[in-house]
Amino acid sequence: MPKQIKLAAHFPGVNNTTVWSDPRSGSQIDFASFEHMARTAERGKFDFIFLAEGLRLREHAGKILDSDVVGRPNTTTVLAALSAVTSRLGLAGTLSSTFNEPYEVARQVSTLDHLSGGRAAWNVVTSPDAFTGQNFRRGGFLKREDRYQRAEEFLTTVRELWDSWAPDAFVGDKKQGVFVREVGRFVHSGPQFDIEGEFTLPRTPQGQPIVIQAGDSDEGREFAAKSADVIFSRHGTLEDGQAFFTDVKRRLAAYGRSYEDLLIMPAATFVLGDTEEEAHEYAREIRYQQVRPATAIQFLEQVWRRDLSEYDADGPLPEVDPDPDAEPLTWGRVQHDKDNLETARKWRALAEEKKLSIRELVIEATTRQQFIGTPQQVAHTVNDYVQSDAADGFVLVPHLTPGGLDEFADKVVPHLQELGVFRADYTGNTLREHLFSQ
């Protein structure tokens, strides 16, 4: 039997991938948008829907970024509401391990698992301190290298809380008058958390909610190999995906885990057309909607750390080099480029080789995994990636809110089902069953 593909849907978020200028683009806040996409994902038998978290609005050059979709609701609150309008779909959300505490995350995710009958997942991330911290009591308080240590201990602690009630602790015997034999007690003493007491909820329908981890760094890979059920990644090519897959799966043995215990699900966008040419033409249009002239200049300024607003996005790259000593111009976006001089050098070479304008260069340099073609072609390509071990499945990132997943669910999924690589219907009720029982 061929490998079975895992599929998740990312609710379009606040970066420039989300096209708001399209007439079909709806509200990113109205609950009807979330409901629409969740129902579509469930109709398509997806494993889960995924929501990111925002803790501070992005700023560029000292001002709130106004060119992308801005603003989103609170993650767990939306997922709890979605639990009422779905019955099988997994509900995954990001909660930062930097600006939350284990007790509150444990009870929120546990509550979500109880409310949804076993469909909750928590994406454990760390947040940059200083900028985001201005919105929190804790402020900026951790050295960068300590953030993963906190994240690891955070997850360990949350799991201790989830496991604190004995499996038979809840009794509910009306006749004898025993509601609970004994509530879960915990004691955790570590460098990050020194807490003890009683946890508020019995073990959840999944035993433990699903744990997702995102991040490509060495620490991130190790953390995921040790602790996560699913790892998100971002890879441009089949080969990059395979290299990542091999590396991460190789790390599992050291933790007594097997190959199947951690699922690798890269983020991917998709563009469908009635013909291959039509799909590519549409994909090109979408990229130009995503990278407007002002967006292109902003991307360049992220790397250059200089005001480049006088440059023409349709013209060549600036002669001037990045300022390696300057503060970043963009805050609240993950900084992928550690060495901006090196990135600028690569970008310049790419632009010269392909004769690209600033805007074209940014489109080329920031394009991630994209599946483009007819529904049948996309189904085959997705399947090729999974069968050749570049991934276990994908987290699809539609470019339109809320209807961007409709075509995939209605047109691509049937092809995957025909290929025998994707479920015709849910066989279990919990997210853990969707992901791990074949």
Partner: protein, 339 residues
Amino acid sequence: MASSELHFGVAIDGAGYHPAAWRASGVEPAALFTVGPYLAAAGLAESAKLDFVTLDDSLGVQPGESSVVRGRLDALLTLAALGPVTHSIGLVPTVTTTHIEPFHVSTAVATLDHVSRGRAGVLAVPSRTEAEVRHFGRRTLPSASEARVENTEVIDVVTRLWDSWEDDAIVRDEPTGRFIDRDKLHYVDFEGTFFSVKGPSITPRPPQGHPVVATYGEDHDLLIEGKTLAIVSVLLGETEQHALDRRRQLDSLYGNEFRPPGRDFVGTPAALAAALRVWSTGVDGFLIRPAVLPDDLELFANETVPELRRAGLIREDYTGTTLREHLGLAKPANQYQGV
């Protein structure tokens, strides 16, 4: 609204206020960890056209022996799950303000307002238990006055964060390439005694402008933006004797007499209507705490409410769609607009 009309909320906590309620209730004990009983109770309150339901919470486990309900779901998330499947009833979770980040409180309550289309409130309560301090492990127990001042600060900054987006901040202006008008977003730059918050919120201003903020008063009442609702614990029976018998049964199951603090009513639904009429002097309404759910809420909704309606003390039907409208509260002006 006629001035004689009263506002009503219902506490839908666990199986009811009596410690033995879970043994007498028809609800399966395990179901208290699912959405079912809360949805059913909110549905009853909605069918009676009441203003809102409350759901209690804390960052610890309810005290007591193994014979009482211990353990509960996060109240805000539970009411969020009711948002899409109820239509008119206001949803007012308890949120503790001592250990949770004010920024998270603001976005969670704003989102409850978004998912319920303008029916959210929040009962802001400081926590002052050693147990909760130990669950967080990074601060000492605040004094009563510190916790009160901090609660006020949290409400202040949460309100500012709700206002940090003007209602029409999202412009989607294609020609200029602007999704938002950033001049309509505001830093709150809050510097208090206990914390500071930069802002703006990440969540646009909720439908009600401000979800309705409630706090506990000192005299077993609920204070809601200038209105006072007396808290009344009710245990009902078709006859007064039946009600007294029910209380005796509950007390005997519990093994002790249990008397709720504050106003404690035991009797028939009609007698309750008469009592509420008497008690209504000087208050704007009541928060009803049923002894056993759904039993006492059913009797209240089906028998007391019609009596009150005949007496002109409760409106015939919802006249608006938001909790503010139910309570006769205007949508607040944005404190940053035009600043």
